[in-house]
Amino acid sequence: MSAWFLLIVSVLSGTAGDLLNAKSMRDHGEIHDFRPGAVARVIAWLARDFSMLAGILAQAVSFFSFAALLGVADLSFAVPATALGNVAKTLFAKIFLREHVCWRRWAGALLVSFGVLLVSL
């Protein structure tokens, strides 16, 4: 498998995973209490949430393809290159999560992606 194939699998599954995880955490609400008992209750809630479970599965696919990518490419290429998904994630966050994406966030996502292009040269 080539580095580019592994990169595409990692980016697509990572995008799906981030969206599902963000949806799950938003459904849960803000975490205020970080004592062990409260954290255990958060984990128990997340373990029963479909979005979180599907998101973790997608993240696992992303992780293993990324680990394989690190085996065939430089760290300084592999890590920034996975930022390719930033614009897609921002777009899908606006569409599916109905986030208000102001111009600074769009510019930030585009700059990160442009930075990725430079890194891949």
Partner: protein
């Protein structure tokens, strides 16, 4: 469970992160996510280079990599990163969290150059600077931006 990605939780309000303690909590978790992600990727890369695993379609081949201590330490740090990112997502937008944690790309490149002796060309350094500029733009925005009344009705 409802499969839709639309937010239906009334607790996911726009003002919950306001205030000094909320801002401090936000900064602490951003730093934790960036550092854990950077060190986790660094250790994972060291481990993967050490054991020379070839990409394979078999999941068993990937489970074998956990015999390496560098990889185990990297995975633990990536779990810390995942937990801190999930915590951030409970009060901040995804479109805020992702660019702001991109600061880890700069630290990762520095670690790759210093400890793994990777060659980083001028173009790559330029890319890393542009990524940093993108991060700085997003830093000034509110973690959970408010929707306009018109957007809320949509």
């Amino acid at each position: 469970m409802e499969p839709s990605l639309h937010n239906s939780n009334p607790k996911g309000d726009a003002t919950s992160i306001d205030g000094c303690s909320g801002e401090l909590k936000n900064q602490v978790f951003v730093c934790l996510a960036v550092i854990a992600n950077t060190l986790g990727n660094f250790l994972l890369s060291m481990g993967m280079h050490a054991i020379q695993v070839k990409p394979s379609a078999s999941p068993l081949e990937y489970l074998r990599i956990f015999a390496n201590l560098w990889i185990d330490a990297g995975v633990i740090l990536l779990i810390v990163w995942f937990a801190s990112q999930l915590s951030l997502l409970s009060w901040a937008d995804l479109s805020y969290v992702l660019p702001i944690t991109a600061a880890s790309y700069v630290l990762t490149a520095a670690l790759g150059k210093i400890f793994l002796h990777e060659f980083i060309s001028l173009a790559r350094w330029s890319g890393i600077c542009v990524i940093s500029a993108g991060v700085m733009l997003v830093v000034g925005t509110s973690p959970r931006a408010k929707l306009s009344p018109r957007e809320t009705l949509l």
